[in-house]
């Protein structure tokens, strides 16, 4: 990756707010997400600028990982907006959860508007080294 490359703004795709009960009021966006896999874990990282560390929720509902982030008030009340390039809004996204994830071991943390969810794989499918024993005789 070339340092100093111009990068683009996060894609704030609007979430349709008509159907989901929880999503009825306010602006909702799909957060940009990275998902990577290591031998032990699957890690999900989401950009949620404006969401404080205790304003994000991670739920497992019907084998889906459901992530919701609420933003507080975007602008101070006495501010008058002169120029606007982005909308302030909440975040919501679902992902299908594979059967190979240990549901009880999932941990989430939030820092600087970035949510990290670490999902350990179940023990049975983690890579392991099988010791080679010297055969006797």
């Amino acid at each position: 990756m070339s340092v100093r490359r111009e990068i683009g703004a996060p894609d704030k795709t609007l979430v349709d707010t008509d159907i989901h009960q929880e999503l009825r009021s306010g602006n909702w966006f799909v957060p940009a997400t990275d998902v990577y896999e290591t031998p032990e874990n699957i890690v999900l990282i989401m950009d949620m600028p404006g969401v404080c560390f205790d304003c994000a929720q991670v739920n497992i509902i019907d084998d889906e990982l459901v992530v919701t982030g609420h933003v507080g008030h975007g602008e101070d009340q006495d501010d008058y907006v002169l120029y606007r390039e982005y909308d302030v809004g909440h975040y919501h996204r679902h992902f299908g959860l594979p059967a190979t994830i240990d549901r009880n071991g999932i941990e989430a943390s939030m820092a600087d508007g970035v949510l990290t969810v670490v999902m350990p794989k179940i023990e049975e499918i983690r890579p392991r080294r099988i010791p080679v024993k010297m055969a006797s005789g």
Binding site: P10, V51, H94, F95, D112
Partner: protein, 153 residues
């Protein structure tokens, strides 16, 4: 949006549920207003909001996950410059990405401010991935109350 990069060793994903990390779609609750793949290629980063109060301008920018050592803000001649480097990729050893959507790299943005500000008194804060730069207006451009005198007679 769905630029899934399968960089891992072939067959690894075969051990996994192929439905995993496909986004749940079409989800009954969520629709996209734009179809995947319709991302605009030429976008500015970071996006900003400029607002005004009686004695200051406020510039906000969404820059989640920044290392503050890599973020630089300066004011000169009525131009605010925000530049930095945002690193999002992990250097995975023995791992691989299913999905990479978070932008990574260097950025630089210069904004002509719409009023005369005192750059010496500018302050910046960073909270929950949102950068807020507060720029006090110079006395000369602050709003002034015009007294109304009652005409005699």
């Amino acid at each position: 949006m769905t630029n899934i990069q399968r960089q891992g060793p072939q067959g690894w994903s075969g051990a996994w549920d192929q439905r995993a990390w496909r986004e749940v779609e079409p989800a009954p609750q969520i629709k996209r207003s734009t179809s995947p793949g319709s991302r605009r290629e030429t976008r500015v980063f970071p996006s900003i909001i400029i607002s005004a109060a009686t004695d200051r301008l406020i510039v906000r920018a969404e820059v989640p996950g920044m290392n503050l050592d890599q973020l630089e803000i300066s004011v000169s001649g009525g131009i605010l410059t925000i530049q930095g480097i945002r690193q999002t990729g992990e250097d995975l050893v023995g791992g691989w990405y299913h999905r990479r959507e978070r932008e990574s790299g260097g950025f630089s943005r210069a904004v002509q401010l719409p009023a005369d500000v005192d750059g010496e008194q500018a302050e910046a804060s960073y909270e929950a991935g949102v950068l807020t730069v507060t720029l006090p207006l110079r006395e000369a451009v602050r709003p002034k109350q015009v007294p109304i005198r009652v005409a005699q007679g």
